[in-house]
């Protein structure tokens, strides 16, 4: 926040304890210090997530201790653990139920890349299907690493965002949201619109051709 002290305000006399800044910066300052996490904990990373919130590491020091299990009350989704393909539609639905402004931390190797679980059932990184702001390496990461990610995220929040939220309010964005609501179930999506699926299908066809 741009702070102007009373002595150096260029002629304008300000009383003591008065700061001059931008409202955007004020909004971002409020947001970053009152993050409400949505714990999407599916595996051992969730245990570290609990430890982060508990007394010893005490996430309350960073204003992020209010874990809510309703996505409508949250603005920070922490995906802790592997996400299987049966869970991904749930993850996307929860992400869409969260209100703007919202952020996402991908915690640990599995959430970020699938980790060692390179199998048919496990999604190879949630950032293929939902936006992610911070990645935390580790298997599982220690609470200090998650806290560092939250601090880094706070810096990011301070840099962007407006008090009116005008960055969310564009006509094209609202249209696209509506289109997504009308989108059919997860496995009926059009393969031609999904480049990753096309690559995977091509690789599978090549493997079959090489074998025969």
């Amino acid at each position: 926040m741009a702070v102007v002290h009373s002595g150096s305000s260029g002629g304008l006399e300000l009383p003591e304890n008065v700061m001059v800044g931008q409202l955007d910066a004020l909004a971002n300052w409020c947001r970053k210090n009152s993050l409400w996490p949505m714990p999407f904990a599916t595996a051992c990373c969730g245990i570290e997530l609990m430890a982060t919130g508990a007394a010893k590491h005490d996430l309350a020091r960073f204003g992020a201790e209010v874990f809510r299990f309703s996505p409508r009350q949250c603005d920070l989704m922490i995906v802790a653990g592997r996400v299987v393909m049966k869970m991904l539609p749930v993850l996307q639905r929860i992400w869409q139920q969260m209100h703007e402004p919202k952020w996402c931390i991908s915690m640990g190797a599995c959430a970020s890349t699938g980790g060692v679980f390179d199998t048919y059932a496990v999604v190879q990184g949630i950032d293929r299907f939902i936006p992610v702001d911070m990645y935390v390496p580790g298997c599982p990461p220690r609470p200090e690493q998650l806290i560092q990610a939250i601090i880094d995220l706070q810096d990011k929040i301070q840099r962007e965002g407006t008090i009116t939220g005008r960055e969310f309010d564009t006509a094209g964005r609202q249209l696209r949201k509506r289109a997504l609501v009308e989108m059919a179930g997860p496995l009926t999506s059009d393969a031609s619109r999904n480049p990753m699926l096309q690559r995977e299908l091509a690789a599978a066809a090549d493997a079959v051709a090489a074998k025969t």
């Binding site: 393909m85 049966k86 991904l88 539609p89 996307q92 992400w95 869409q96 919202k102 390179d118 199998t119 048919y120 059932a121 496990v122 999604v123 190879q124 293929r128 299907f129 939902i130 936006p131 094209g172 964005r173 696209r176 949201k177 997504l180 989108m183 179930g185 997860p186 496995l187 009926t188 999506s189 393969a191 999904n194 990753m196 699926l197 995977e200 299908l201 599978a204 493997a207």
Partner: protein
Amino acid sequence: MPSMPLAVDDILAGLAARCGAVETSVFRGQTRVVVPEPRSFEALAWLKEQGFDLLIDVTCVDYLEYPGAKHRYGLVYLLVSTATNCRLTVRVFVDDPDPTVKSVVPLWAAANWLEREVWDLFGIRFSGHPDLRRLVMPQEFTAHPLRKDYPLQGRGERHNFPIITRDHS
């Protein structure tokens, strides 16, 4: 318990008399018996009458490219008699195409979800099952992923989802 092996021998003899040729073997004190597929329900029903009142598990092994294997799929029924603590492993072999056995849900209600799991992961059809839906994979899934000819990394199912970007959400 000295009386138990005798009882098992009697049961195996009775099984052989009722269901034709059965292979039996013992491994580390556990008795296994192979029942021909057309008579499997009859054999299991008779075993239940003999006191095997608890069905521990129904599972399956895919013997594709297994050395010396004569059949593709080997179903495994693990039975226990809660009165005598006697255990019996019943094997039933089935083959492609359309491997099918008769469901044992009428005998043991526990078979309901166990057979659904085998159907889901191996594609063994259980005729007469009251509700043969997939158990663990999504309903839209088309493959049976624990078959040996299914690739470990799948056929792209794990990537077949809509992509939500910042603009979409």
